[in-house]
């Protein structure tokens, strides 16, 4: 083995099992100082498990970690940090009620008595060194997500880390914030840091990777050059050819079905989370609500369902005022609802597949006779839907908790689409779903549109918005920034997601483009 091979950080034949499930099967990966190594894979492919092994959060069942030619035992994060490994977690590991400085010194306080003065100085010093400005006294919960991530990065750098792991860092960011993050990562690479960048977004991989390794079902299935096309990468990731964009026939827009006027919703703390929204959705069209997570989209969906406190404004469905209806009434009025948090709100994990498939209809014919349920009708319904929606389950009497993410989502969608709808509201319909299932779910949603329902899709993924939308409503801090065509350029949409109005965003984006040309 040459010296060249000994340098850097290497994972050799790492195996990690959870019970009988093999999350990592003899996975080997290495990263050299001064490069960005992309680890690409679908949700559940084992990327985060691998990195948690590296960071000492999980103990491997086999394999070695080698740092600069010497074996490294990482039993806890403290040892990982001491060895110069830093991690930027997907879900930020920041204490929300602490200040930036307090978060930064947590775990490395440097003495039994807190010295916040020194902590502030340390924040300022690090922020200056890496050009990531942040106010040391700001409370994390008051900061926008992009800045919170900056703190998370500073925290990973605070121990003079040589190797940095970015675990799905772009999931919560606006396109502009993503661009900024890319620049930060490139700068860190040029400073000589070795970076492992975990993602399932092909566009990002192509933009920044020096090397690409693809993980599928716990195994390395190949590596690719940075120039590899998106469809080739997708095929490696999924294991078969995938349509990244479904063919969507032109919308046949009919009469208005959903009409929302001046809708305002306050959360229990009294903060206005949906602020005076006006929009209409017609029969046969899909309106996508785009925006960065946490800008009122979830509350808007809840308000349409009748599960949020509407402070003012009206919601009209097929001419009937449903503003203050409860969920049972809105469902009776023809609403199909796919909730954002599938596991908590989408199905009952301890009910069978068959029971879950009638959750919205078990009180009515043909599923109930008087006080009793008609189990035969329920079973027939389930057999039919399982087949039509390709829900992969051993039997309709299996518990819903045993379904994979994609199949669970098919179950939810099958149930909601199994009756005539006036309006379908689906939040993050393909979150945590593999690429293959995304294709299927998207086709079903478009098919529902073409039966004449009005469709509202809430999504934070621009790919999904582009694939599905007939019109796009961009939300920012509870307000509609504008309603635009899905052909609007990405950077304009991105600026709108940060609150910049359409005209200004367009002008800005043009100016930037001319700037680049010169």
């Amino acid at each position: 083995m040459t010296a060249q091979h000994d340098a850097g950080l290497q994972l050799r034949e790492i195996t990690k099992k959870f019970g009988t499930f093999v999350a990592n099967d003899a996975v080997s990966l290495d990263v050299q100082p001064g490069e960005i190594h992309c680890l690409l894979g679908e949700n559940g492919a084992g990327k985060s498990t691998l990195m948690n092994v590296l960071y000492g959060l999980l103990q491997p069942d086999g394999g070695q970690i080698i740092l600069d030619g010497e074996e490294l035992h990482v039993e806890n994060p403290r040892q990982a940090m001491a060895a110069g490994i830093g991690m930027v977690h997907q879900h930020f590991m920041l204490v929300e009620v602490f200040t930036v400085a307090e978060n930064l010194i947590l775990g490395r306080e440097g003495g039994p008595v807190l010295n916040l003065e020194k902590a502030r100085a340390k924040v300022t010093e690090l922020a200056g060194r890496y050009n990531l400005p942040v106010d040391p006294d700001a409370r994390i919960e008051d900061l926008p997500v992009g800045i919170q991530q900056r703190v998370e990065i500073l925290k990973a750098l605070a121990n003079d880390a040589k190797y940095l792991v970015f675990d799905e860092p772009t999931a919560v960011l606006t396109p502009q914030e993503i661009d900024e993050l890319m620049i930060v990562m490139q700068k860190l690479r040029d400073d000589g840091k070795g970076i492992v960048f975990i993602t399932h977004k092909l566009r990002e991989v192509r933009a920044i990777a020096d090397r690409i390794t693809v993980l599928r079902r716990g195994k390395i299935v190949g590596s690719a050059e940075p120039g590899t096309s998106e469809s080739e990468l997708a095929e490696l990731m999924v294991g078969r050819a995938v349509d990244l964009r479904i063919a969507k026939p032109e919308a046949k827009v009919g009469q208005i079905r959903l009409s929302v006027k001046g809708l305002t919703v306050a959360n229990p703390a009294g903060a206005v989370v949906v602020d005076g929204l006006d929009f209409e959705v017609a029969s046969g069209e899909i309106l996508c609500i785009a925006g960065v997570q946490g800008n009122g989209q979830s509350e808007l969906a809840d308000a349409l369902l009748g599960n949020a406190q509407v402070t003012s404004g009206t919601v009209t469905l097929d001419g009937v005022d449903v503003t203050h209806s409860n969920p049972r009434q809105t469902i009776a009025a023809g609403l199909g609802f796919v909730p954002e948090d599938r596991q908590h709100d989408g199905y009952v994990a301890n009910f069978t597949v068959a029971e879950n498939l009638v959750l919205n209809r078990f009180t009515t014919q043909p599923f109930s006779k008087g006080l009793a349920l008609d189990l035969k009708a329920i079973a027939d319904n389930a057999t039919d839907l399982v087949e039509r929606y390709d829900i992969r389950t051993e039997s309709i009497t299996k518990l819903a908790s045993q379904l994979s993410g994609g199949n669970a989502q098919k179950l939810v969608l099958a149930r909601e689409l199994s009756r005539d709808l006036a309006l379908l509201v689906a939040s993050q319909p393909t979150r945590g779903v593999d690429v293959g299932a995304i294709e299927f779910l998207h086709k079903r949603i478009v098919a529902e549109r073409d039966t004449g329902a009005a469709v509202v899709i809430v999504s934070t993924e621009l790919e999904e918005v582009e694939a599905l939308a007939d019109r796009v409503l961009v939300m920012y801090r509870g307000k509609a920034v504008g309603i635009v065509s899905p052909e609007t350029p990405r950077d304009v949409l991105g600026l709108m997601m940060a609150g910049v109005p359409y005209e200004e965003a367009l002008a800005n984006s043009k100016a930037a483009a001319t700037g680049k040309d010169n």
């Binding site: 009620v97 947590l106 306080e109 008595v113």
Partner: protein, 432 residues
């Protein structure tokens, strides 16, 4: 890069969302306001039946400096209080008060109700209402509550709900009683109390942290265990030879030099038992521990976001164990109050719910040691007032007066405080 700077400009300013009144806040406003109005109406009713003169004694017979006894015409005093209370209530209901005025209205409502009610009660008796006794009694009664609340604050800040303060009190009181009786030594009794409460805390920590048991259920079980265990030992062991095992010495007030001679304040604040001074000191100690030390930062971190603490190499389990055990020290001191801090003898279930009132104080005090201590003082005040009024033989039935502290707890927790924010991971076991 125009694009970035435009986005940056929006990103970097921390814009707060506009606020309106949510349904919850409206409910809180109306219920608080109605409660205050109801109190005002009660006073208004009382003002018509009030006696002639209410006497308030500012010092008691044994004080060195004797202060005059004030005489207040009861009818007008109650009436004025009623009007103030009603005005505050209407103001609160209207919802047009700024936060500062809302706070002021709350204070006006509270003090005018107390003053009005006391004037009415004092006027029914020829004896003066002893104001200084009331206040010094408040401090003494609040002592175990303060210590218990501190025990809870430390545990819950680390994410372990402590419903077992009552059980810790009871075990500690029992241990202090027996050890005090045998050794005739107050320090030995205190040490025994602390050790016992720490052992009870260890039980809580073991099942809550290691075996991930539901912490509220666990707390209730520990309380029942303490009640059963001390009751059994008391019947079988202590009762038959109570002269040997149930006659602990009691703490005597220690005057703090010349401070104790300050008129009015001296006897109230500076002529108390060692336990009272310890309680006050403990508030400061816990505050410093939580907010000024490395350990405190870690305790708060594991109570808010244990995984974040884990990822920077802090052992969540170890910090939680430490916090619960340290809390046990304060619960033990609080428990000792019931035997060596008062009569010196143990009786079955003699802590009568004080542990739960301490729990209420810590919740109302929003998991902050200083606020929790102030809330404990409030409960102490109400308890002491109930017993003072009993000796004045007012027309209010004594059973009702004994209910007062508990009513105050319910009203305060349910109505006046509303939603308060617990540590985010309070009561949630940490599983890697």
């Amino acid at each position: 890069m125009t694009t970035f700077s435009a986005a940056e400009a929006v990103l970097d300013q921390v814009v707060r969302l506009e606020k309106v009144e949510s349904a919850d806040q409206k409910r809180a406003r109306l219920s608080t306001g109605s409660l205050v109005v109801a109190a005002g109406l009660l006073l208004l009713g009382l003002s018509f039946g009030a006696g002639q003169i209410a006497h308030f004694a500012m010092s008691n017979a044994f004080d060195e400096v004797q202060l005059p006894t004030f005489a207040v015409p009861a009818g007008p005093a109650v009436l004025i209080s009623a009007v103030l209370c009603l005005a505050a209530g209407v103001g609160l209901i209207s919802g047009r008060l700024s936060p500062a005025w809302r706070r002021a209205a709350g204070v006006v409502a509270g003090t005018s109700f107390l003053f009005g009610f006391l004037s009415w009660a004092a006027a029914t008796s020829a004896l003066p209402f002893p104001v200084s006794n009331q206040l010094s009694g408040t401090v003494a009664t609040a002592t175990p509550l303060i210590l218990g609340a501190l025990a809870g604050v430390i545990g819950e800040r680390a994410g372990v709900v402590n419903v077992a303060i009552e059980g810790q009190f009871l075990n500690a009181a029992f241990a202090a009683g027996i050890v005090g009786s045998i050794t005739k030594s107050i320090p030995a009794a205190l040490v025994a109390a602390v050790l016992t409460a720490v052992a009870t805390a260890a039980l809580l920590a073991l099942f809550a942290i290691k075996y991930l048991m539901d912490q509220v259920v666990l707390g209730v079980v520990i309380n029942l265990l303490a009640s059963g265990l001390t009751g059994f030992l008391f019947d079988q062991l202590v009762q038959p030879q109570s002269r040997v095992l149930n006659s602990a010495p009691t703490m005597q007030p220690i005057p703090l030099g010349p401070l104790a001679n300050i008129p009015f304040l001296g006897p109230i604040l500076f002529n108390q038992t060692i336990l009272v001074y310890l309680a006050v000191l403990s508030v400061a100690v816990v505050w410093v521990l939580l907010f000024k030390t490395r350990w405190g930062l870690r305790v708060r971190a594991v109570g808010e976001h244990p995984k974040a603490a884990d990822t920077v190499g802090i052992s969540v389990v170890a910090v939680r164990w430490q916090a619960v055990l340290v809390g046990g020290i304060f619960a033990g001191l609080g428990g000792a109050f019931f035997t060596v801090g008062s009569t010196g003898s143990f009786a079955k279930d003699l802590t009568v719910g004080n542990g739960f009132i301490a729990l209420a104080a810590l919740i109302m005090g929003r998991w902050h040691p200083i606020w929790a201590a102030l809330m404990a003082l409030f409960f102490g005040f109400v308890t002491q007032m109930a017993s003072q009024l009993q000796t004045l033989s007012t027309p209010v039935p004594s059973e009702f007066l004994l209910l007062l502290p508990y009513i105050a707890t319910i009203v305060a927790v349910a109505g006046l405080i509303g939603r308060s924010r617990a540590p985010a991971a309070d009561g949630t076991p940490y599983i890697k």
